[in-house]
Amino acid sequence: MTTTAINDPVLEIRGLETHFFTRDGVVKAVDGVNLTVGKGEILGLVGESGCGKSVTSMSVLRLIQNPGEIVEGTILFHGEDLLGLSEKEMRSIRGDRISMIFQQPVGSLNPVFTAGSQIAEVYEIHESLKKKAGNAKAVEMLEKVGIPDPERRAKAYPHELSGGMAQRVMIAMALAAGPELLIADEPTTALDVTIQAQIIDLMREIRNDLGTSIIVITHDLGIVAEIADRVSVMYAGEIVEEAVTETLFAHPKHPYTRGLIGSIPLAGDRREWLEVIPGRVPNLIDLPGGCRFAPRCKAREEAGLKICTEQRPELINIDDAHTVRCFLYQEGAK
C-alpha cells in the first residue's frame, strides 16, 4: 500500500475543530485537523496523551458528548459529509460502515450481557436479524477472529475473558457488519506484549483479507511502524507531520517527530543517552501563539527563527506526500 491509495479515499477529514466548553475555558482538543484514509489503507495516528487523537476519532463517529462539540470542518465518508447527516442516518453508519474498538477491551464490553449477544446486537441493528440468527453469526465471527471454542466463548460474560480475548471479541463486534473503516483507539495499550503482537497481526490480516481501511490511534511508534502504511503525527490538537511510514521513520522532518523517535529506546540500539523533548505538552485552553511546539523546540533556537512564536505555521508539502507543519521548511521563513 502506498500513497496512491489516497486517490480512492474512504474518509477525508477537512479542517476539523472539536472543542470542549469547560468551566475553565474552551479546550481546543482538535483544532484544524486534516486526514485522509484510502481504501484498504492503514493510517497510524500518533501522539501523546491529550493531543486530541482520540477526540478526532470520536468526532468521526459523531460521538462527542457534552461539553464537547464539533465546531468546524467536514468529514467526508465516500464523499458524503457525515456532519450534515441526521442523527438517524448517522446511526445507520455507526457500527455498520464505520466501527470502532477501544483501549480497555474488558471495560468496553457491557458486563451484564454475554459476548455473543453483544456481537449479535450488531446484526439485530444493522441487518434486522432475529436474535437466534444473530447469535449464530456471532459465533461465526468469533471463529474468524481466532477465538478457540467460539461457541463456549459466545456464552461467556466479559469478566470471564482475558484482555486479549476481550479485544478479539471487540474486533469481532466491530467487523460484524463488514465495515469499510475500522477505527482502533489504542487497541493494544492495555495488553501484554505477547498478546499485543497477536492483535496487531489480526488487524493486519483483516486489512489484507477484507480490504478494510483502518485508522490505528496510538502513542506507541513501534506499533505504527509495524502496521501502518502512512502516519500522521498529532501535537496539541493539530497534525504536525504526515508521511508514508518508511519515509517518516527514515526522514522525520518536524522537530517534534524527530524528538519523539529519538526519545524511545529501540531494541538493539545502544545509545548512551536518549533524546529528550524538554518541557511538557501545552495547556489546550491557553495555547501558545504561533507554533504550538515552539516553547519546547530546540531546532527553532538553533535556527534562530523568530516567526515560530509569532505566526501559526501551515502544513506544507515538502516531498511526495510528505507534509509538515514547520517554518524550518518554509521558503522565506528565515
Binding site: 446511526r91 455507526r94 457500527g95 471495560g107 468496553s108 457491557n110 458486563p111 451484564v112 450481557f113
Partner: protein
C-alpha cells in the same frame, strides 16, 4: 446458584445470633422488674420469686440466654403481659398491617422514584432534572410524622367535601368488619389462614368484598404516601447518580459506536447496570420503612408492628418488645438476603464466583 444462596445464608448466621444476643440483652437492661411489670406493683416478694423461678429468671444469664434461644427456635416468643396473649398471636394480627403498609409505600417509592431518576439522569441538567432534584432534596428532608399530619390536614380538612377527600386514620371505615377468606371459603382457621386473612386488601380481593376493599385502599393511601416519600426521594437520587455514572463508562460508548439509538443505549445497556446499586438501596429502604412505620402507624392510628412495638416499649411489655424487635431485625436480614439474590441475578460478575 443454590450453593451461593446457602453460602450467603450461612454467612448471616453470626449476625442473627448477634441480633438474638442484643435483643436479649437490651430487654434485660430495660429498667424495671419484669415480675412487677407483669403482675403489677403490688405483687409480693414470694409471688415474684415463684414467678422468676417459673420463667427461669433466677438462672445465670447465659442459661437464660440458652433458654431464650431454645424458645425462639421452637417458635415460642413468650406471652404479652399487657394483652395476655402469646406474642406470636400478636404478630399474626399485627404484622400483615405493616407489611401491607410498607409494601404499598415501597411500591409507590419504586414506581415513582425509578422513572423520575431515569428521566433526571437522562435529561441531566434540564429543567425536569433540576425540579426533580429539588423535590428529592425536600423529600429526603421531610420528617415523616410531620408529613403525615400535614397530609391528614390537607385531605381530611382542607379538601373535605371534595372528591379528593381521604380518611385521615384507621384501617377501615367504622363499622366495617371484613369476613376472613377462610370463613368465606370454608377453610379451617389456623395460624396461617388467620395471618393471611389479616392482609385486609388481599383478603377483600379474593373474597370480593368490594366495600371493604375500597375503604381499605382509601385508608391506605395517606399513610403509604407519607411513608413512601423519603425512600422515593432516595431512590430517585440514587437512580439518577447511578445512571450518570454508568453513562460515562466505556461500554456505553461501545453501544453508541455500534449504532444503537440513544433510547436503547440508556434503557438496555446503561439501565441494567445502573439498577444494580438501586436494587441494593431498595433493600436498605426497607429498614427505613420499618423505622418510619413506627411513626406512620402512630400518626395514622394503625395497629401494626410499629405502633404495637412503640406501645409495648412505653408500657414495658418486654416480651412484646423482645419478640417484635427480633422479627423486625430478622426480616431486615432476610430482605437483604433477597436483595443479594436479586443482585446476583442481575450481575453476572457476582454470579460466577
Amino acid at each position: 446458584m443454590a450453593r451461593f444462596l446457602l453460602r450467603r445464608f450461612i454467612s448471616s448466621i453470626p449476625v442473627i445470633i448477634g441480633i438474638l444476643a442484643l435483643v436479649f440483652a437490651l430487654a434485660r437492661m430495660i429498667p424495671g422488674d419484669p415480675c412487677r411489670a407483669a403482675l403489677g406493683e403490688r405483687a409480693t416478694d414470694e409471688i415474684c420469686d415463684a414467678y422468676n423461678e417459673r420463667y427461669g429468671l433466677n438462672e445465670p444469664i447465659l442459661v437464660q440466654f440458652g433458654i431464650y434461644i431454645k424458645d425462639v427456635a421452637t417458635g415460642d416468643l413468650g406471652e404479652s403481659f399487657r394483652f395476655g396473649v402469646p406474642v406470636t398471636q400478636l404478630l399474626i394480627e399485627r404484622l400483615p398491617t405493616t407489611i401491607e403498609l410498607a409494601g404499598a409505600a415501597l411500591m409507590i417509592a419504586v414506581i415513582v422514584g425509578v422513572p423520575l431518576g431515569i428521566i433526571s439522569g437522562y435529561r441531566h441538567n434540564s429543567k425536569t432534572d433540576v425540579a426533580t432534584m429539588i423535590g428529592a432534596n425536600i423529600g429526603v428532608a421531610m420528617p415523616v410524622f410531620w408529613l403525615g399530619l400535614m397530609l391528614q390536614y390537607i385531605f381530611a380538612v382542607f379538601l373535605r367535601d371534595t372528591p379528593l377527600a381521604l380518611p385521615p386514620s384507621g384501617k377501615l371505615d367504622a363499622g366495617l368488619i371484613p369476613v376472613p377468606f377462610y370463613e368465606a371459603w370454608g377453610l379451617p382457621m389456623n395460624g396461617l389462614t388467620e395471618f393471611l386473612s389479616e392482609f385486609t386488601i388481599m383478603n377483600a380481593l379474593v373474597t370480593f368484598q368490594s366495600e371493604i376493599l375500597s375503604s381499605a385502599v382509601l385508608h391506605l393511601i395517606l399513610p403509604a404516601v407519607a411513608l413512601a416519600t423519603i425512600p422515593m426521594a432516595i431512590i430517585a437520587r440514587m437512580t439518577r447518580s447511578s445512571l450518570l455514572d454508568v453513562l460515562g463508562l466505556d461500554y456505553v460508548r461501545t453501544a453508541r459506536a455500534k449504532g444503537l439509538r440513544e433510547r436503547s443505549v440508556i434503557l438496555k445497556h446503561a439501565l441494567r447496570n445502573a439498577m444494580l446499586p438501586v436494587v441494593t438501596i431498595i433493600g436498605l429502604s426497607f429498614g427505613l420503612l420499618l423505622g418510619g412505620a413506627i411513626l406512620t402507624e402512630t400518626i395514622f392510628n394503625l395497629a401494626g408492628v410499629g405502633k404495637t412495638l412503640f406501645d409495648a416499649i412505653t408500657s414495658r411489655d418486654y416480651t412484646v418488645v423482645q419478640g417484635f424487635t427480633l422479627v423486625v431485625a430478622i426480616s431486615f436480614v432476610i430482605v437483604n438476603l433477597v436483595v443479594d439474590l436479586l443482585y446476583t441475578y442481575l450481575d453476572p460478575r457476582v454470579r460466577v464466583s
